[in-house]
Amino acid sequence: MSLLEIKNLHVTVNGQEILKGIDLTVNAGEVHSIMGPNGSGKSTLAQVLARRDAYHVTEGTILFEGKDLLEMKPEEAASEGVFLAFQYPVEIPGIGNTYFLRSALNAQRKHRGLDEMDAMDFLPMFREKLALLEMDDKLMNRSLNEGFSGGEKKRNEILQMAILEPKLAILDETDSGLDIDALRIVANGVNSLRSPERAMLVVTHYQRLLNYIVPDFVHVLVDGRIVRSGGKELALELEEKGYGWTEAERQTAGATA
């Protein structure tokens, strides 16, 4: 059984069809990259997988470990092991970072029938992950993402991922707005989480991140459809030729179909 199986997925947002029939299978241990121009539906796919209800699935199925993901609420999908690193992490004044992380972890543990983790067990693990992402623990005493720089917010997403240890991690444009040092730190964090049990879906506009997080598969999403799939070399080809190339190819394909 595949970890994630998307079949003929059609999604509309505010009455407009954004995804027009996506098929994608991801197995445990694999890293897939979804590339595409702005507005192609990459982020929509990421949000649908995290179960945001503003997106309406009009057709198709998504199975996660054989279970119907579309039946799950966001918190259920999260507890089953789906994690979305947000393109724009939300600032929430008044909710402390550390408190939030422990609440989230314990909510998920509870869902899985595990005991809640007390502060004594949580802290050493937490410190270890903070070090991995080279984050200042002073940030953790602050409110969730409040006043964080763009890079700090993205690192905080990966920190959350490191603590929650999902089965499927979806990174939505995690590289956007990062300088090269921050990019390296984020990529190190992500790479340290690669394992045979875990799959990753790396959504990005640029090839740059894929120099650090090397994918097993690359899919090109244009206008709500996957127009090409291939290995990591496809990303390089795209970088060289630009998205116009796939667009031209899609139109040719459309003409012959």
Binding site: A54, E75, A78, G94, S143, Q160
Partner: protein, 471 residues
């Protein structure tokens, strides 16, 4: 027109019942032989008879109708016995003193007034009037505005009992003084007029918690309380108000603050209970360099009506006032924030700020927010702003996407919104006490049955009045 006339005529018969109450009261009142006190009461009563209860035609009462109070015949609440067990749930751990009033009467057997710090006096006002009339006469009734506010006039007419707190010059009282007002259910509608006098002499420091609660069943009751808080030069006073009476209770509160030079005062209000609540906070920054923080949180549900009327008077130069009120309203609750700032001619270099933020959790909840600036000086800075919104869908989704349930995520977000007010509270004992009450109440609000669930929380910016700057 006919209905108006009927209402007036009807109103007059009710005033008749107040006259009977007053006549009975005067025969027994504490200090009735003191000419100044007799005059204070009878002048105030005369004023009340002149004006009657306010109507929504009065600008100060535009958003709050007290017709339900005006048409009710209230009897003075009778004496009632409560046990230490009844009072136990209300105790504040770590308080310097606790004084308990049951139906407006001092209950010495329930109060803890032993071994007070040197320089701190906590007593029943009634007893203090009898034992130290000249000390009380220096301040009582000198600040509360009986001309403008009929409820203040009524309270002043019925000055009987309440708390007397005095802090001597230079004395610092670390733990808060706790004042508890309990009303018990009776068959008929009852009224109490708690009257408190808090005097902090020069360079003293104290925190006071006033807590209004009901015990037993729900019956119509009016708590019409007035507190005069007098702060000397460089005094530091933190005042905390908790309103948590049952939903049939009417609660009209007035906190009148008189600030001396460089005094630093904070008023923190927490409105949880009461069916119809009017919370008046009226500081007068009378001495130069004074600072006043007016901080409040109101949480309404059901059909609660919670009105916060601020009247901040800058009467001296170089004073600062900051108002922050946050409201969370669910179901058909109605909130009001009326923020009046008056800057007198001589009050140059005034820095006055006002912010009112509101979360509406249902389509039927309502908030009226109204700034009112009257500025007669020319070198001042006054800002005000108000926002009305709903729980942010983005934030809710973010929390849920990490595994936190929708109910828990909503609770966290509401708590975070309330926390802004909690963080401004200085006294650790009071803050923790208030925080516990807020947590419990939000849980209660969230668990109350509601009609809809699901995508009710569509993002909507709602009305946002941007901070308009004047000066």
């Amino acid at each position: 027109m006919e209905t108006t006339l009927t209402a007036v005529a009807h109103g007059e018969t009710k005033l008749q019942s107040w006259l009977e109450n007053f006549t009975d009261f005067e025969k027994m009142a504490a200090g009735r032989s003191l000419p100044w006190l007799h005059r204070l009461r009878s002048d105030a009563f005369a004023r009340f008879c002149e004006t009657g209860f306010p109507t929504t035609r009065d600008e100060d009462w535009r958003f709050t109708s007290v017709a339900a109070i005006a048409k009710t015949v209230f009897r003075p609440a009778g004496a009632a016995k409560l046990t230490a067990e009844d009072v136990a749930p209300y105790r504040v751990e770590g308080a310097a003193a606790q004084i308990v009033f049951v139906n407006g009467r001092f209950a010495p057997e329930l109060s803890h007034l032993g071994s007070l710090a040197k320089g701190l006096t906590v007593a029943s006002l009634r007893e203090r009037i009898e034992s130290h009339p000249e000390e009380v006469a220096k301040h009582l009734g000198r600040y509360a505005d009986v001309r403008r506010d009929p409820f203040c006039a009524l309270n002043t007419a019925f000055i009987g009992d309440g708390a007397y707190v005095h802090v001597a010059r230079g004395v610092v009282v670390e733990a808060p003084v706790y004042l508890l007002y309990l009303s018990t259910a009776e068959d008929a509608a009852t009224v109490t007029h708690p009257r408190n006098l808090i005097v902090a002499e020069d360079e003293s420091q104290v925190a006071v918690i006033e807590d209004y609660a009901s015990v037993g069943g729900e019956a119509v009751a009016l708590s019409n309380a007035v507190t005069e808080l007098v702060a000397g030069e460089s005094a530091n006073v933190q005042h905390y108000l908790i309103e948590r009476e049952h939903l049939k209770a009417y609660n009209v509160q007035t906190l009148r603050i008189q600030q001396g030079r460089s005094a630093n005062i904070a008023s923190h209000s927490l409105l949880l209970g009461g069916g119809l609540v009017r919370n008046n906070v009226h500081p007068v920054l009378a001495g130069e360099g004074g600072e006043c923080l007016i901080n409040g949180l109101f949480l309404g549900t059901g059909r609660q009506h919670l009105d916060n009327y601020m009247h901040v008077e800058h009467a001296s130069p170089h004073c600062g006032s900051r108002q922050f009120y946050n409201g969370i309203l669910d179901q058909q609750a109605h909130g009001v924030f009326h923020g009046r700032i008056v800057v007198h001619k001589d009050a140059q270099k005034t820095d006055a700020k006002q912010t009112n933020r509101n979360l509406l959790l249902s389509d039927d909840a309502q908030i009226d927010t109204k700034p009112q600036l009257e500025i007669y000086a020319d070198d001042v800075k006054c800002t005000h702003g108000a926002t009305i919104g709903q729980i942010e869908e983005n934030a809710l989704f973010y929390l849920r996407s990490r595994g936190i349930s929708e109910a828990e995520a909503r609770k966290l977000l509401l708590l975070a919104f309330a926390e802004e007010c909690v963080e401004r509270m200085h006294s650790t004992v009071a803050r923790e006490h208030m925080e516990g009450l807020i947590r419990g109440h939000l849980l209660f609000m969230e668990q109350a049955p509601r009609e809809t669930s699901g995508p009710r929380l569509v993002e909507r910016n709602g009305l946002a009045i941007a901070g308009e700057e004047i000066g």
